[in-house]
Structure formats: C-alpha cells, structure tokens
C-alpha cells in the first residue's frame, strides 16, 4: 500500500508537485529548452511496448485477412464472377445495339443525302431455308407499296432485287444467287458486262472480251441496262482476272456485305442514285 506521503497532509504535497511542474514548464518556455532526458526515457520505454502492440494488432489483422477472411473472399469472388458474366452479356448487348445504331445512322445518312430518290428502309427478318439459293426476307411488303423487281441496296452497294411481295414482307434475290444477273460496267473504262451470282461469296463478271484490259481492284458499277438497278450503283471490285474462251473469267467481290445484312434500303424508283457520300461531296476539289 502506498502510504507515503501521509493522508493527513496531501495539500502541501499537491502545491509542491504543481509548483515543481510549473517551474519545469517555465524553464522550458523561458529557455526554449526541452527536457530531453525525460522524453528519451519515456519514449525508450514506451516505444517497444507500442511496437509490440502494433505487431500484435498487425498479426491479428494479417491472420484475419489471410485466413479467416478468405471465406468472405470466396463468396465475394463468386459474386464478382457472376457480375462479370452479367456485365459481359450486357456489354455484348450494348455492342450489338451500338452496331445497329451505326448501321441505322448510315442508312439515315444515306437517305437524307438522297432526298430526291424515294426509298424505304427495311429490316432483314430472315433468309432462305435452302443452301442453294441466296435470298432474304425483309419486313416491308404490299402495305408499304413494294412491288417486284424493285432494287435493294445498302450504302455500300447493290444487294439484290425484290422477287416476291407479301402483305407484310418481301423476298429479295441477292446478286450472289446463281439466278441473279446485274447489268454492270467498269467505272473507269465503262466497258459493259453482266454480273452473275455463283451461289458462292464471289460474283462473276461475264461477257468481257479478252482484249479488254482489266485490273484487280477495279470498281464495277451498275449500268442501268437491266431496267432494274439505277445506273452507277457500286456492285463490287475485281478480285481476279483470267483469260478465257471466248471471254475473260473475272471474279468480283460484292461491295455490300451480303453475308451480314441486317438493314437495307429499297429504292422505290429506278432513278439514278449518286453513291457519293456526304463527306466526299463536302471535300473541296483537289488541285
């Protein structure tokens, strides 16, 4: 038991202790001097304890994080995986919608830049059920005043023509179908021929004499002679040229992405359509 100093005289002790501390404070303030020794002893004594406390807490926290908390991490991981799957699905949907928006924007742009030509935007709703024919169905029909032989295009080029009109839909024969034929000519030399489908991705340009100089990459456009497709619509580009008998064997890659059609334009007339894009039209003439 701490009996010193005695209980009977605590007040003088209080005054003494406080006075000593006030003097100590005054000494420190007056001399701007620190009682370094007391601090060093206190810190030297307390620091190891604080270090031990910090180490203990860190160890417990580390143990919790590394072991016990793993259970929560596992559940969190499962949750995050589900979230990733969900977000990936949403991302794909958004990408699809963005692509659709791009396509529709291109169609709208095309339509707005050709206001003089009556046209109708249609959505591809199906394709032929057999492998031999290359046809698609669009969501426009008699109710939209569509009729047979109307040309179907995309901003990239010719797609085909309407071969069957139903009340709410129509069947389009693609230019890649073997029964299809498009009056065409070379954009540069203006040499005429006929683009025929082969039921393969590549088309064939026929009736070009062997004497004609044809280059790979040359642009083929509609000639308008078939009375279906307006003149100067892009059909495709030459991918290979071979001498044949009596005509050259020329393969053409379709300008329109016939294997990835989703939205198309039905031209309600055979009036000539300029396929120049608005951006190209805005460009100043080169010097």
């Amino acid at each position: 038991m701490l009996d010193f100093p005695s209980r009977q005289r605590p007040f003088p002790l209080l005054v003494t202790v406080v006075l000593v501390q006030v003097l100590l404070l005054a000494f420190q303030i007056k001399r701007d001097n620190d009682v370094r020794l007391v601090r060093v002893w206190a810190v030297e004594f307390l620091t190891p304890l604080q270090r031990a406390a910090t180490w203990s807490i860190s160890s417990v926290r580390g143990g919790w994080r590394n072991y016990i908390d793993l259970r929560r991490t596992h559940a969190e991981n499962e949750f995050l995986k589900a979230q990733v799957d969900k977000l990936q699905l949403q991302n794909r949907q958004l990408e699809s919608r963005a692509a659709e928006a791009d396509r529709l924007a291109a169609l709208l742009n095309f339509k707005q830049s050709h206001t003089e030509v009556p046209m109708l935007v249609a959505q591809v709703i199906g394709a032929s059920a057999d492998l031999a024919s290359r046809t698609i169905f669009i969501n426009r029909g008699e109710r939209d005043h569509l009729r047979r032989n109307l040309p179907v295009i995309t901003p990239d080029g010719v797609v085909g023509k309407i071969v069957e009109v139903l009340p709410g839909s129509s069947q389009v024969l693609l230019i890649s179908d073997q029964n299809s034929g498009v009056g065409a000519l070379f954009a540069e030399t203006r040499t005429h021929g006929v683009v025929k489908g082969t039921s393969d991705p590549l088309l064939r340009l026929e009736y070009i004499a062997n004497e004609e100089k044809v280059h790979v990459g040359e642009l083929v456009v509609t000639s308008g002679e078939d009375k279906i497709y307006p003149k100067d619509l892009p059909v495709g580009t030459v991918t290979s040229v071979k001498q044949g008998n009596p005509f050259q064997v020329i393969t053409v890659e379709a300008a329109a992405r016939l294997d990835r059609l989703e939205d198309v334009i039905v031209l309600m007339t055979q009036q000539e359509v300029s396929m120049k894009k608005p951006a190209e039209e805005a460009e100043p003439p080169q010097q």
Binding site: L2, S6, L14, V17, V22, L46, T54
Partner: protein, 172 residues
C-alpha cells in the same frame, strides 16, 4: 476515536494486485499512442485520464491520486509534443480531486461513474485550456462540440472499462 476517524473506517480503500496500477497506466499510454494512428476519431478518447480517474477514485488517497496523476501526465507529455508538465499539472489536480471525492460519494454505480468522468473530463480540459492561455500564452478555446462529444464518449467508455479494471482489485 474522533468522528473523522470513524467515518474513514467505513470508507473502503481498494487495493490492487502488484504492478496493476503501473501496468495499466503504461498500457493506457501505449494504447493511446496506438489509437491516435487511426485518425481523428481516436483523439476523442483520453485513456490516460480515464486510468487516472479510476485509480484515484479507487485508492481514495489524495496523495496517491495526485502522484499517480503526475506520473501519467508527465509520461503523456514526454511522448507528445507538449512541454513536460502540461498534462502533468492537469492530471495532478484531477488525481487529487478524484481521490478526495472517492471517499465521499458512491463511485461504483455506472451512472455515478458516467457522471464523474463527464465532470472530470471537463475539469481536465478546463485546466489544459487555462494553462494554454496563462502559461503558454496560446489562444485556446474551451468549448467545442467535439469536446462535448469527447466527454460523453469517454464517460461511456469508462462505464465499460471501469468494471474490467475492478477485476484487478484484491479481494477485501
């Protein structure tokens, strides 16, 4: 036997296991330094003050109380950036007054402990502000909402902490 001596006979002076007072005082200082690493909310707690109050109330000896307050206060000064004696003086007074009160009122009931700690916290803060202004010539303000919250927090902690410290008492 005088009447004063008769009264003192009825006052129960608690004794603690060897090293308990010193150990808890150091632990409070260590924990205080450790808690202050966790941001400003930890600054609301004043563990060294709570320990001073507890042991002073329990010992009920003003001399012991003031010396305990002095020791804890000076150590607190030493590990802080304050001049030695700043917390020392404040806790000396707290220890002295707390041990003086300990012999006169019930200090065991939780509500009583809450109220006592609340009062001693503000007393301690008042002394610090006074010394700040008079001895250190610094413009210190006494009242703030943070101080009010801190006093309530410390009083609430004391209600939980003091029964734990009661286990360090020797059986009477």
């Amino acid at each position: 036997m005088s009447s004063r001596a008769q009264i003192e006979q009825h006052i129960e002076v608690h004794k603690f296991y060897g090293g308990a007072v010193v150990g808890v005082a150091f632990l409070a200082l260590v924990l205080q330094g450790f808690l202050n690493k966790f941001g400003s909310w930890a600054g609301l707690l004043e563990l060294p003050l709570l320990v001073t109050i507890y042991f002073s109330l329990s010992r009920r000896n003003p001399a012991t109380g003031l010396l305990l307050g002095t020791g804890i206060g000076i150590l607190q000064d030493a590990v802080s950036q304050m001049p030695i004696g700043f917390y020392g003086i404040a806790k000396t007074f707290v220890g002295y007054v707390a041990s003086s009160f300990g012999g006169r009122i019930d200090t065991e009931h939780p509500i009583s402990r809450f109220g006592l700690v609340l009062v001693f916290f503000h007393f301690h803060q008042f002394l610090l502000t006074l010394m700040d202004r008079v001895l250190l010539a610094r413009p210190a303000t006494y009242f703030s909402w943070k101080l009010l919250i801190a006093s309530a927090v410390n009083a609430a902690v004391a209600v939980v902490l003091f029964p734990l410290l009661d286990h360090l008492r020797k059986p009477s």
